[in-house]
């Protein structure tokens, strides 16, 4: 057991993957000597060399496009997009090529490319540095989309993403990079596409992922003394969703709140609400409610505390489910 921050846990996971498989490459802006702006790739270029840890020109489409080419040649590139808001120049390569090429080849091509994206707000950053673009990617067939929320998952899930033969969009909650936890390197990891009950409860199922997991756990702890028991599920995999675990929980609790930083409208919560309504209709005591960002561009950072759903906004949604 070692205590690691999330950033260090992902770093260790990358290191292990690179040691295990010489085809694993790291690519991105400033990932070499600097170790990435969040230091997630710290020390890797020093130990694995410039041909495996590649400082790329500043062009995101180029990063993904050349990663596809390297994957076609048998490599397993792990691309870092420096910030969530910078992924859009690469969206064309991700959506039109990375997601679709295996199908185009009738399965003859596999593209084991991982796209790491530090995501979400809460760090007081300037525009384009605080976004939650996951729904753009969960909407695209051919991609797997996952979000880690803690160092244990950071360490294991990045390795699973690299081993996966499908393209994976890997979201990392940047405001949780410095959170610490005990990580057991030898432990058998949870399956890559499974959700996890991170706090069992009986009254309301709270579905969340990424940076909001911690917020929801704090919310659950805060209402415990009021005698209200929240079951918090970290979805981990956003496409595919572990609906089996979600439905089982909601059938038990009869109530559900989905919390994410991304805008509520057309967000992952909408998909979850629709699916839960269809599968758990007769178990529901209230409609599925959502706590999330507004349908606006991400606001200036002095306002982000109003935009981001915090503990109170999550609990407000919980309260409202009891009003039905």
């Amino acid at each position: 057991m070692t205590t690691l921050t999330l950033a260090k846990a992902i770093n260790e996971g990358l290191r292990t993957a690179m040691e295990d498989d010489s085809k694993v490459l790291i690519m991105g802006e400033d990932v070499g000597k600097l170790g990435g702006v969040f230091r997630v790739t710290d020390g890797l270029q020093k130990d694995f060399g410039e041909s495996r840890v590649i400082d790329t020109p500043l062009a995101e489409s180029g990063i993904i496009g050349t990663a596809i080419g390297l994957a076609l040649r048998g490599y397993r590139p792990v691309c870092e997009i420096q910030f969530d808001g910078f992924v859009f120049p690469a969206a064309d390569q991700i959506i039109t090529q990375l997601a679709k090429m295996p199908l185009r080849s009738l399965g003859k091509i596999k593209l084991p490319v991982v796209v790491r994206i530090p995501c979400g707000g809460g760090i007081g950053a300037v525009e384009h540095h605080s976004e939650s673009p996951e729904a753009y990617f969960t909407h695209t067939g051919g991609l797997r989309v996952v979000a880690c929320s803690n160092p244990v998952d950071g360490y294991h899930m990045i390795q699973q993403a690299i081993r996966c033969d499908d393209p994976v969009i890997f979201f990392e909650p940047k405001r949780r990079y410095w959170d610490k936890a005990e990580v057991e390197r030898g432990a058998a990891p949870l399956a890559f596409d499974r959700a996890q009950i991170v706090r069992p409860g009986t009254d309301v199922t709270v579905l969340t992922y990424g940076p909001m997991v911690k917020t929801c756990l704090e919310a659950a702890a805060a209402v415990e003394q009021d005698g209200r028991s929240l079951e918090v599920i970290d979805l981990r995999s956003l496409n595919p969703l572990d609906t089996e675990m979600v439905f089982e929980s909601v059938r038990r609790t009869g109530r559900c709140v989905v919390a994410h930083e991304a805008p509520v409208f057309s967000g992952l919560g909408a998909e979850l609400a629709a699916r839960i309504t269809e599968a758990c209709f007769y178990s529901l005591e209230a409609p599925v409610l959502r706590a999330g960002g507004f349908s606006t561009p991400y606001p200036p950072s002095r306002l982000e505390d109003h935009y981001l759903p915090d503990l109170d906004r999550v609990l407000d949604a919980v309260d409202r489910t009891f009003a039905f």
């Binding site: 489409s61 050349t66 080419g69 040649r73 199908l103 003859k108």
Partner: protein, 388 residues
């Protein structure tokens, strides 16, 4: 309100003048010096010397190139006819670009990798891809479907210019493998405006990747002439990125072969990328859905007909007695057979099973698709006889 009228020298009229100049600018002439063009075989079939490039072909090799040119034109013609008869949804004809594709395609070794657009039927031929496999995409029974690794010929890419980055990434893989190989990537004049193409130039340059950028400048990006894309000859773009650019007569199969061969050799030997601009002409429409009479004059087409890539080889062969009439007759017969065969097998191509929609999207089980597949299978089974 007072209206400011632009005067000479003020920013508005400078901008207007620039625009005017832009409209009348002839990109094929070049901004500074007149462009140089590598040509080894004139439209009249005369072999000419070039100080930097030469080619030594046996009579058999010349006959082989002629056969390639004729057969790919025949496949293309058959595909156009199949589209006109409703058997293909669309087709992108290579008519007029045969020499650029056969010349460059025959320059490749087995170990080299080619990344095409959707018009490289001639290169596909050189890489041993069954022409019928090209039709699947246009008939709508698949999105591609040949094995890129088997032929070292990647799938057709429809989004303009995307494949240039794939080719550079692949070339970076070759570098890491220490392999004696290079990649070649095809794109058109319109694609040179794409960000991806420019990014691929940068990547190839800074990583010194073994890649040849083969731009078929066929003068038209659907309806947009070259001056909508560039104020300088396209091959000169390369110098700004730090690697050589060269313009070749794209209707001269000898020159295309010689220039591409050299560029690939340079790439394999660690000298990095080259941009080749094959100066050619799209004799047909952009695709079978296009109508070029709306935007270009007939005289232009007539002028280019005189530079036909096949006729000049034939003239050369006649003049130098490299083949007799029997040879030309046998090629015509082979082309007719190939056309018939392509047509027959196109018509026999089955529609895929509806549940194929869910296949090959992921390589490992995916819960959502498994669920959707099961639901749709049950829905189909609910119809009488199990068919909608």
């Amino acid at each position: 309100m007072r209206v400011n009228r632009p005067k000479d020298g003020d920013p508005i009229s400078v901008a207007l003048n620039a625009q005017e100049r832009h409209v009348t600018f002839d990109a094929s002439r070049g901004a500074e010096a007149p462009p140089e063009l590598v040509q080894l075989l004139t439209p009249e079939g005369e072999r000419v010397e070039h100080p930097a490039y030469d080619i030594d072909l046996t009579p058999e090799e010349v006959r082989g190139l002629y056969r390639d040119l004729v057969l790919v034109r025949r496949v293309d013609m058959e595909a156009v006819a199949l589209q006109r008869q409703g058997e293909l949804g669309i087709w992108a004809s290579l008519l007029g670009q045969e020499a650029a594709q056969i010349g460059s395609g025959r320059a490749l070794t087995d170990a080299d990798m080619a990344f095409p657009t959707y018009r490289e039927h001639g290169v596909a031929w050189c890489r041993g891809v069954d022409p019928v496999n090209l039709l699947g995409l246009f008939r709508g029974v698949n999105h591609g479907g040949w094995d890129p690794a088997e032929h070292n010929f990647h799938l057709y890419t429809i989004v303009i210019g995307s494949q240039t980055l794939h080719a550079v990434g692949y070339a970076m893989g070759i570098q890491r493998d220490g392999a004696d190989a290079a990649t070649i990537v095809y794109f058109g004049d319109g694609a040179t405006s794409q960000g991806d193409v420019n990014e691929s130039f940068i990547w190839a340059s800074v990583f010194n990747a073994p890649v040849v950028f083969f731009c078929q400048n066929n003068q038209w990006a659907i309806s947009e002439p070259l001056e909508k894309q560039s104020r300088i000859p396209l091959y000169r773009r390369a110098s700004g990125f730090g690697f050589p650019g060269i313009r070749v007569d794209g209707n001269d199969v000898f020159a295309c072969l010689a220039v591409t061969r050299q560029a690939l050799k340079n790439a394999r030997e660690g000298q990095g990328p080259t941009l080749i601009e094959a100066f050619t002409y799209r004799m047909g429409a952009h695709t079978t859905s296009d109508d070029p009479t709306r935007y270009r004059v007939a005289g232009e087409l007539e002028a280019w007909k005189l530079k036909d890539p096949i006729e000049r080889v034939k003239a050369y062969m006649f003049k130098n007695q490299l083949a007799d009439q029997d040879f030309f007759d046998s090629i015509e017969a082979e082309a007719a057979d190939l056309g018939r065969d392509v047509r027959k097998r196109c018509l026999e191509m089955p529609d895929p099973h509806p549940l194929e929609i869910f296949e090959h999207v992921y390589s490992e089980p995916h819960a959502l698709l498994t669920e959707e597949r099961e639901q749709y299978a049950a829905y189909l089974a609910s119809f009488e006889g199990g068919e909608r």
